[in-house]
């Protein structure tokens, strides 16, 4: 087994196939980002939770809750009050899901570094099936050949994420 290997989340496929998954994914993702950005900006401005509470006319416990990633009880009005108190702009963006899924597909395209990793470990797994002529070929040729041998031998479907 290789010491380290890439983590492949395959989120694009799940987002595309499961509407409930993508609904949960982006709802919870918004909560994570909201909590992180409020806390980060408050600390950047060297404000304590109580300072932000005083500035926004809220209780310190309410600020603490908003900074928890699993909290979603805030209202639009609350967020504006926090943004005003932090002297920050609040932005809300609606993105069509097809654009979002497309961007995830692009993000999950195999990087040159991952290609290199795959060649090394596929080559190792394939043993002498990668011949001497491939060893002198370019990285990309060797990768293509390794994929060809793997698919021919094992009928594994290689998903079309390879550039």
């Amino acid at each position: 087994m290789a010491l380290i290997s890439p983590i492949k989340l395959n989120i694009a496929k799940k987002l595309e196939e499961d509407k409930n998954f993508r609904r949960r994914f982006f709802r919870d993702r918004a909560q994570d980002e909201l909590a992180m950005s409020i806390k980060e900006l408050r600390e950047k401005k060297q404000m304590r939770q109580v300072d932000l509470a005083n500035e926004s006319g809220m209780k310190q416990s309410a600020i603490s809750r908003i900074e928890q990633a699993d909290y979603s009880g805030w209202s639009f009005n609350t967020l504006f009050r926090v943004a005003d108190a932090l002297d920050a702009r609040l932005r809300v963006i609606f993105e069509p899901m097809e654009d979002v899924i497309k961007s995830y597909k692009e993000k999950e395209i195999i990087t040159p570094e991952f290609k290199q990793y795959t060649i090394i470990h596929l080559s190792s797994a394939l043993g002498d099936k990668i011949g001497a002529e491939e060893l002198s070929a370019t990285t990309s040729d060797r990768f293509a050949h390794a994929v060809k041998v793997i698919t021919a031998d094992t009928k594994i479907e290689i998903q079309p994420i390879i550039q």
Binding site: L3, S5, I7, D32
Partner: protein
């Protein structure tokens, strides 16, 4: 611009995710995705420093809390070196020591024999 990429020591993240509840899997996938976008700008409550260049990615589902320990390698690699459920208020020393040991194995460059430079 080079993107952050996520790596794991001996498939530890894959193994951990495979044994998690579906709910926890989704939490961790979402946060791994967020970490891969934000990199070093991923902060609390999603991620927190542990000292000695180690960080924890946090996940909670129901009353269970998962922790994935990672560090930043070269070429914008984020390398996960331990994954576990947290049972006490603080991460046990044992989990930190395991993470450090795994980091050391990687940094010793055993992968270099395969042409892959993983030194920090």
């Amino acid at each position: 611009m080079i993107k952050w990429t996520l790596w794991q020591f001996k498939n530890n993240v894959d193994s951990f995710l495979n044994n998690c509840s579906k709910e926890m899997q989704e939490v961790l996938m979402r946060r791994l995705d967020l970490l891969s976008e934000k990199g070093i700008d991923c902060k609390r409550p999603i991620s927190a420093p542990l000292g000695d260049e180690l960080f924890e990615l946090r996940g909670q589902a129901g009353n269970k809390q998962a922790r994935l320990i990672y560090y930043f390698g070269n070429n914008k690699r984020i390398i996960f070196i331990n994954a576990f459920y947290k049972s006490k208020s603080q991460i046990s020393r044992h989990h930190i020591e395991t993470a450090k040991r795994n980091k050391k194995i990687i940094e010793e460059g055993k992968e270099q024999a395969h042409g892959f430079d993983l030194t920090h």
